[in-house]
Amino acid sequence: MTKQFTTANKDGLSSPSRRLMLTGCGSLAVTASLAPWITWSAPVDRSQGDLFAFTAPTKHDLVFALALSPRPFGQTEREPLTVRLHAGASCWMVGPFALQDSEDVLPDGTCLFTGQVRRTTSNGARAMAHLIAVATSAEQMPPGSLGVWAEILGAGAVRWRIGNPVVSHLLADDARLAQLHAALHPAMDVQVLSAAIARRIAALPTGGLGVDSQAHAKRLAALILPDTLQFDPARPSGYTFAGLNGRRAEDVIEPVVQTVLVGAPRPGLGARCYLAASQFPYFAKAA
């Protein structure tokens, strides 16, 4: 089933040049027409993108978002990207997305935002990222833990996906494994990637005193595959040392990711995070 909607500009007037199309992608999808591209700033971090899932601070909404670094995955500025955000059985498709700010409310109350947001890099410098965010009523989602992941479709049928931050960290240094990973659906991850991911983890220098690297690698690979960001909306959200339940804008995840990876505390790592806001999209906009 396909539904069509006309988006509203910030002043509330509809603009026929910017149309959203809702299609089924599991349950829900949104596409936006191509708009003028902004100029990406220079790459500042090794991460290509960041995935978020959290409970909205002011409403009983669940927020799913993908922040993309400038020129993610080697794409040029003008190559259109389509993004599919998956949360459990639900899916929202955005694309080829407009990089200018766009904020819309769909008939079922789902909010959609695309645009630039602010973040800080590992060395504390200010930077921008492009965000695709969806906020939907918690009542629309099934109870229990959701596997959240994003597909990014680029020019020439190129595809990437982002899920668990620990997996993303491992893939950033292994182009061949990243290529294999990109071609898979998460349902295939355990079967296809377990051994390779475990090898990657075991090859890392363990920071712990006497950590059994092989046992740690095998156990961790089983925990992080399939490559999804696990999020149980019934529990406090955050990718912190208190729990790996979704991820909020302000979470500083590098120390957590590296500590989980090596099985021992890794202090003194960078403070890369996004700046939170109190209103949808719950990220501080660039403007």
Partner: protein, 350 residues
């Protein structure tokens, strides 16, 4: 230490002071549960078990935070071996109780009987009770300095963890180790905790509980709240202990500046820890680490996990369990440290 000397009652009688609980897969198809008491046994504490004590491994099998299955261990009076007053021996009895008997009392089917030091094997169940090396590792002086800075200076003192001295090195505890076929517990994901109760002429009174490492020593500074923890079961933890855990970790993470929203972090900690029980997927590789809590193996360095969780800062105390004292097979605890090996260690301060 994860819980050495943490309540007035157990400071008075270390024999009922549960220091640690371990839960892991032993030989294939078998699960090991181990409880240690008597911190610094033989030096600051006795090397015996209390004959009015009821030592219990409790298992929640259905996720209701109440025990459906309990393994109970009781000891007889202390006797002297070969009429040597320094060589103690006690008879023990292990029972398996299900249903209502799991919750209270000493009832249950007898699984094994034996004597401390030599162990027992019956009904495919292996039991050891006696002096053993303390496999816990932690820098107690650093923890004390950390807590002092927090309480008196309202300061997050990360630098204290550079001390890097394992207070528990070369110290002993007394351990109760039971290895049995996993199906005698059940299957799938379970939750465990240990209790020590007094059960003699008076009604049964629980005096000590161990659900997760360092809950009291690190995360509950308030003595009254510690007593609530030690005197109750996990079913009411969210209500009775959640606010204290949340408040404390919000304060620590706030002082550390490790989160822009300390209150939310505190809520996340309380949600993670309550009900306070050790989760374990039976038959799996046990590990209590940063990736998750799944049982606890003897070599797990739990101190780093808990001080990091308390602050949302990657903290390491720089010491780890003495793995040379871990055996690969039953009873998994290696030989206790001898008097010669313990030469020069300072008695633990109560």
């Amino acid at each position: 230490m994860s819980h050495h000397f943490d309540t007035p009652t157990t400071r008075e009688d270390p024999r009922i002071n549960i220091c640690d609980l371990y839960l892991f897969e032993g030989s294939p198809g078998r699960t090991v549960m181990a409880m240690t008491v008597n911190p610094d046994a033989g030096v600051s504490s006795p090397d015996t078990f209390r004959d009015e004590g009821l030592y219990a491994f409790r298992f929640d099998l259905n996720g209701d935070a109440k025990e459906e299955l309990t393994f109970k261990v009781r000891f007889g009076p202390v006797e002297h071996l070969d009429e040597d007053e320094h060589r103690h021996i006690q008879h023990f009895e292990v029972r398996r109780a299900a249903g209502a008997d799991a919750r209270k009392g000493t009832e249950g089917a007898v699984l094994a009987t034996g004597e401390t030091g030599s162990g027992a094997r019956a009904n495919d169940v292996s039991v050891f009770a006696g002096l053993a090396p303390d496999l816990f590792a932690g820098d107690a002086a650093a923890l004390r300095a950390f807590q002092t800075a927090l309480a008196k200076e309202n300061r997050f003192a990360a630098e204290v963890w550079q001390n890097r001295k394992n207070f528990f090195a070369k110290r002993n505890v007394t351990a109760i180790v039971i290895e049995l076929p996993t199906q005698m517990i059940g299957r799938g994901r379970i939750h465990a905790w240990a209790t020590a109760s007094l059960h003699g002429h008076a009604p049964e009174v629980q005096v000590c509980r161990w659900g997760l490492p360092l809950i009291t020593n690190v995360l509950i500074p308030d003595q009254d709240v510690r007593e609530i923890y030690n005197r109750t079961g996990p079913a009411d933890d969210r209500e009775k202990l959640g606010p204290a855990l949340s408040q404390f970790t919000a304060r620590v993470s706030g002082l550390a500046g490790s989160t822009p929203n300390p209150a939310e972090y505190g809520r996340q900690v309380a949600d993670r820890l309550c009900p306070i029980m050790l989760p374990y997927e039976l038959g799996s590789h046990a590990a209590f680490d940063f990736a998750g809590f799944n049982g606890r193996a003897p070599g797990d360095d739990v101190m780093d996990v808990i001080i990091t969780l308390a602050s949302n800062v990657a903290l390491a105390d720089g010491v780890a369990p003495d793995r040379t004292r871990i055996r690969p097979d039953f009873p998994y605890f290696g030989p206790a440290f001898t008097a010669e090996e313990q030469a020069g260690i300072v008695p633990a301060q109560k």
